[in-house]
Symmetry: C2
Subunit: 323 residues, 2 copies
């Protein structure tokens, strides 16, 4: 029997698991809540328990699996399979994730950071269509990403490759970013970034708008509210979406000019705005790219949703499959 692979998407709220065939068919998936108590010391034992229990349930043996792949927050050392400073897991020091999980399950283990792993997933079985050159951008609470070029994930010298959220799109007078710089893409295109752009534009917008009224009245407004209002024709919300799309189109354009990937795939919560957002980002992308890139690099929406994490994580374990 061909060996299977396991993908784990480790997050601050839940840990998602998937059992996949070597070709990426998801045969089973489940999740457990992330227990971040006691400096996150329960997390790795919980993962081991979850896997061993599932294998028992299905009468599967560790020998049925080529390997386990995992995507993790924090700073990942792939060679040592360790994670450092994953603050949303309460991991304050370095955790020997790989050694522990292999010891606890008897299965080989590989790890990379969560945004890279999601990029691998979308590249392999999602919008990237298994092309060797795919860039993935995830728009959520933050803005993350991963770059696959010539078939390899780009990690860079210190693992910071693919930090698309920190591309500076407002060189002068941009908002402060959590990273210490100003004008990063994340400050204007994350869920909170979209609202920040709306607050800024509200000061100079004079027309009639439910969203602007809500902002002026101090009501809570979300990026989702803004996209819904824009699609319904609210002129102010349309201005906000246009501005956000310009920033995204500029970042995507420069990624295109730099890497000429087959596609730049947009995923994450904000991308729920779907084709409405994609089309506007694409228009700016076409403005900011030179002819070869305009013709050959596509702007796409992610297709795997939440499964990108487990699928991409599992793909890390494909290297253990013996041919």
């Amino acid at each position: 029997m061909a060996k299977k692979i396991i993908g784990i998407d480790l997050g601050g709220t839940s840990i998602k698991f998937g059992i996949l065939t070597a070709d990426g068919e998801v045969q089973d998936k489940w999740s457990v809540a992330t227990n971040i108590l006691d400096e996150g010391e329960h997390i790795v034992p919980d993962i081991i328990e979850a896997i061993n229990h599932r294998l028992e349930l299905y009468k599967l043996d560790k020998s049925d699996f080529a390997g386990i792949g995992m995507g993790s927050p924090g700073s990942v050392n792939m060679g040592k399979a360790t994670v450092t400073g994953a603050y949303n897991l309460n991991w304050k020091s370095t955790v020997e994730v790989g050694t522990l999980i292999t010891a606890g399950t008897g299965i080989k283990f590989a790890i990379d950071n969560d945004a890279n792993v999601a990029a691998l997933g979308e590249r392999w079985l999602g919008a990237g269509e298994n092309n060797p050159d795919v860039v993935f951008i995830t728009l959520g609470t933050g803005v993350g990403g991963g770059i696959v070029a010539d078939g390899n994930l780009i990690h860079g010298v210190a693992g910071a490759g693919g930090e698309i959220g920190h591309i500076v799109v407002v060189p002068e007078g941009g908002f402060e970013c959590t990273c210490g710089s100003k004008g990063c893409l994340e400050t204007v295109a994350s869920a909170t970034g979209v609202v920040r752009v709306a607050r800024q534009l509200a000061e100079e917008f004079a027309g009639d708008s439910g969203i602007k009224s809500a902002i002026d009245n101090g009501e809570a407004v979300s990026s989702k509210d803004i996209f819904i209002a824009a699609e319904a024709g609210d002129l102010f919300a349309l201005k906000v979406v246009d501005k956000v799309s310009m920033y995204l189109g500029l970042a995507c354009g420069n990624l295109g000019n730099t890497l000429n990937p087959d596609s730049i795939v947009i995923g994450g919560g904000v991308s729920a705005a779907g084709e409405f957002l994609r089309k506007q980002v694409e228009n700016y992308f076409l403005k900011f790219t030179f002819p070869t890139v305009k013709k050959t690099t596509k702007i796409k929406l992610a297709t795997l949703g939440n499964d990108a994490g487990i699928i991409g994580a599992a793909s890390l374990a494909r290297k253990f499959i013996e041919i």
Copy 2:
């Protein structure tokens, strides 16, 4: 005897040749003028003649060489070893460079575009110190570049990877670029771009400046004049260099945020301004990058000068060396 490799740097004015050891020691170099007459039909025969003549001169045989590598302008198909639309060579259609040169010399052949090849050279034996992650920017008549990530040149889906000159650094109100976009790095950081920035700033500069006077008087001013004046303390020229450095620092910063290379190496004619320019670009680079990149990605000056082309070209032929 260990086999040698040949590097060819094909340009519109001259064709440079080098004979190198497998370790990159340049044992001999020479050049011939590029004869672009008759739609460039003499170029390939001239290359073959130049190599065969040299081998005869040194009593070397084709069997002494593992391969020939070449950097070429135009659009290069690496697989077919052809060049299309190299207008500065007068090559209007596709030229079967590889087939012809291998037939004429009996030596294996590999090709890539000239900016990529220079990047390979600087990465291998120049400022890149053979690190697997190096970005190269060349500032000359135009602005070109090449990206080595995880040890591979990044070509992208249509060969436009590494077109750093077309990164947009002025999203609104930028100068028109030859590529059809506006605000590309090339429009403000090439030799003519620097002068263009000076003309723009001259309109609003009121102080005393030899460079501004020269511009206002309609005298020819070069980028070199501007850098020399800036180093000598001309306040207007300093403003121009500051602005150009900001654009370069922004482009380098976003390359750093995207790829986290070990170094971004600046070469080409404009980089003759040396440490004076590098330092200012670095200051802006540090402004536009997030902490990990600030700490781990370095801004360096190219060290190989004109030899980057033949060395990088020769490196393409290393794949033919049998181990």
